[in-house]
């Protein structure tokens, strides 16, 4: 059975179409990424799939249960971690977990056992009787995740689970997602962090302005745009004249400065590398490091969503 089947899903707010005729299927056991810029419709999609908002058109089924017709049954199988950590500040971590478990009707012995385990997993056990009030952002995020798991869901919705967190919280959360998935839990996560989607997800849907631009495994999405490869050079004295010069190399579509490195986008990295080395030598510059890179998921994303990278664009255009 599929964990999620979405057909022709559309959501309008007045004249604005937040989600536009979206269809996809997530098989059980998959980590499915929903990648898109701000305002793409990620949260709106999750709100429909969790039965908080009704779709304007289309259908969604969760583990075979239609979310509009069988809302309660569908919800009983899911864990939800929304965009904003929605915890009761005036309750302790423990009380928050107990309350959530009761909403899902998890028995007393079971919920106490699970809460204990989850607090341990998320490294919050020593703070279990403290009011959430004083928790840091990362601690609140971890507690929200623990609350999303207290009913032992088969399907987990995560809306930007790691956005704005420090390395430690980030690592804990990613580890937990992988562990859950090893135990067969399906994960639907939204993110605008391309690296996260790349390293965590089996498949990624790229959504922009409510419309899905592509759905595939990260590697295959990258293959689909093999034309976007790049040569990366690091050298001292990266003046504008040097960048101008690199622009003029034939077959270079775009030059991007990234910190102390510069990236030349091209369909032909071999010849560009040769030409770049030659021009730098003329200027008396010795590169500190040289790399040729395949397309990144970011490149796929930029290409499919038509986003402007915004800086160091090739003055000649495409």
């Amino acid at each position: 059975m599929s964990a999620i089947v979405v057909t022709g899903l559309t959501k309008k707010f007045g004249t604005l179409t937040a989600v536009n005729n979206v269809s996809f299927t997530v098989p059980e056991g998959e980590i499915f990424g929903y990648l898109g810029p701000n305002g793409a419709g990620k949260t709106t999609t999750i709100r429909i799939l969790t039965g908080i908002t009704a779709p304007t058109a289309g259908t969604a089924a969760i583990l075979g249960h239609d979310i509009v017709e069988e809302t309660l049954t569908a919800r009983s199988h899911m864990g939800i971690v929304p965009e904003t950590s929605n915890i009761y500040d005036d309750l302790t971590a423990w009380q928050n977990l107990m309350f959530t478990a009761e909403l899902y009707r998890v028995g007393k012995a079971e919920r106490e056992k699970r809460a204990q385990e989850l607090l341990e997993t998320f490294q919050l056990l020593d703070r279990k009787d403290d009011k959430v009030h004083g928790f840091s952002k990362g601690m609140k995020r971890r507690l929200t995740l623990a609350m999303g798991l207290v009913n032992d869901p088969r399907l987990l919705f995560l809306d930007e689970p790691t956005s704005g967190l420090d390395v430690q919280s980030n690592l804990i959360i990613k580890d937990v997602i992988r562990d859950l998935n090893d135990r067969g839990v399906t994960v639907f996560l939204t993110t605008h962090n391309i690296e996260e989607a790349n390293t965590l997800c089996h498949r990624v849907a790229i959504i922009n302005r409510g419309t899905i631009a592509a759905i595939d495994a990260p590697e295959r999405l990258k293959q689909a745009i093999q034309s976007v490869q790049s040569v990366e050079l690091a050298f001292d004295h990266m003046g504008t004249e040097v960048l101008e010069m690199l622009h003029r190399i034939p077959n270079v579509n775009e030059v991007r400065k990234e910190g102390d490195r510069v990236r030349l986008y091209t369909p032909d990295p071999g010849s560009v590398l040769e030409a770049a080395m030659a021009s730098l030598k003329v200027q008396g510059i010795r590169p500190l490091s040289v790399n040729t890179l395949g397309p990144s998921l970011e490149d796929v994303f930029v290409k499919l969503t038509g986003l402007d990278r915004g800086h160091n664009r090739d003055p000649k255009g495409k």
């Binding site: 908080i52 309660l72 939800i80 309350f99 009761e102 909403l103």
Partner: protein
């Protein structure tokens, strides 16, 4: 939600409603805003009235309990729900495997428990300090429970208004509950009201709550116990249904 509802879901709903009620009590028992509007306001209102009439304080206890049941029971949700909307914990309730009815019911039960305990404290305080005695303790307890539940359900109706601002709901609510005090026979006995006044009094739930509380203390009632009880139950059912409807409507 239309086709699937079964006894199983109903039991989940009761369970969820109870969890929500308990959570509300733990969190909102300690919020000063609720005490301000729930207890202090009725107290000052009645004291002002007593000073004007120079009536002995002990005779004010029944009216005070009736008004307090209105003010404290109807205050919990209009304070709690906008706060929960703002902190997004409301989404947690909306996305749980319980129906909106469980939400409305849970909130009403917390209003009942909260204001019921305040009314009991008033009764005990009156008995200890002013030697006010109940004529019929069972009827008094029933009166307190029924009024508190009715007005808690009324609070749930107002809390459906989709805002994150407590003040907005409160001012809407006061628009209704302040006039109720004056048309319900709390200050002016029903017997002395003109016919049009009686006609207005009949549409106020506080009239029946007050009448029943009065029986609990004095053994006299205008409408009779049965009428009071039935009408309070009818008002409760109407408020619960209306609350459920409005939550559904405002939630698209």
């Amino acid at each position: 939600m239309t086709m699937e509802y079964s006894l199983y879901h109903f039991r989940n709903d009761l369970h969820g409603a109870w969890a929500i009620a308990k959570k509300d009590l733990v969190i909102y028992y300690l919020k000063p805003a609720i005490y301000m509007s729930g207890l202090l306001f009725p107290l000052f209102m009645l004291l002002a009235f007593a000073v004007g009439k120079s009536a002995p304080i002990a005779t004010l206890i029944p009216g005070l309990i009736a008004i307090t049941s209105l003010f404290s029971a109807s205050s919990i949700e209009p304070v709690a729900i906008p706060i929960e909307r703002r902190t997004k914990t409301f989404d947690r309730l909306l996305s749980a495997p319980i129906s909106l009815f469980a939400l409305v019911l849970g909130e009403s039960v917390s209003g009942l428990l909260f204001s019921g305990s305040i009314c009991l404290a008033l009764f005990i305080g009156g008995a200890v300090l002013l030697r006010t005695a109940a004529f019929s303790l069972p009827v008094l307890l029933l009166a307190i429970a029924l009024s508190c539940f009715t007005f808690a359900a009324m609070g749930a109706v107002f809390s459906a208004y989709p805002t994150e601002n407590v003040g907005e709901v409160m001012s809407l609510l006061n628009l209704v509950r302040l006039p109720l005090i004056f048309i319900s026979g709390v200050f002016v006995p029903l017997e002395t009201m003109p016919p049009w006044g009686m006609a207005v009094a009949r549409i106020s739930p506080l009239t029946y709550g007050n009448d029943l509380v009065r029986y609990g203390f004095e053994g006299t009632t205008h409408f009779g116990i049965a009428v009071d009880v039935v009408l309070l139950l009818v008002f409760t059912a109407i408020f619960l249904a209306l609350g459920n409807f409005l939550y559904r409507k405002f939630n698209e």
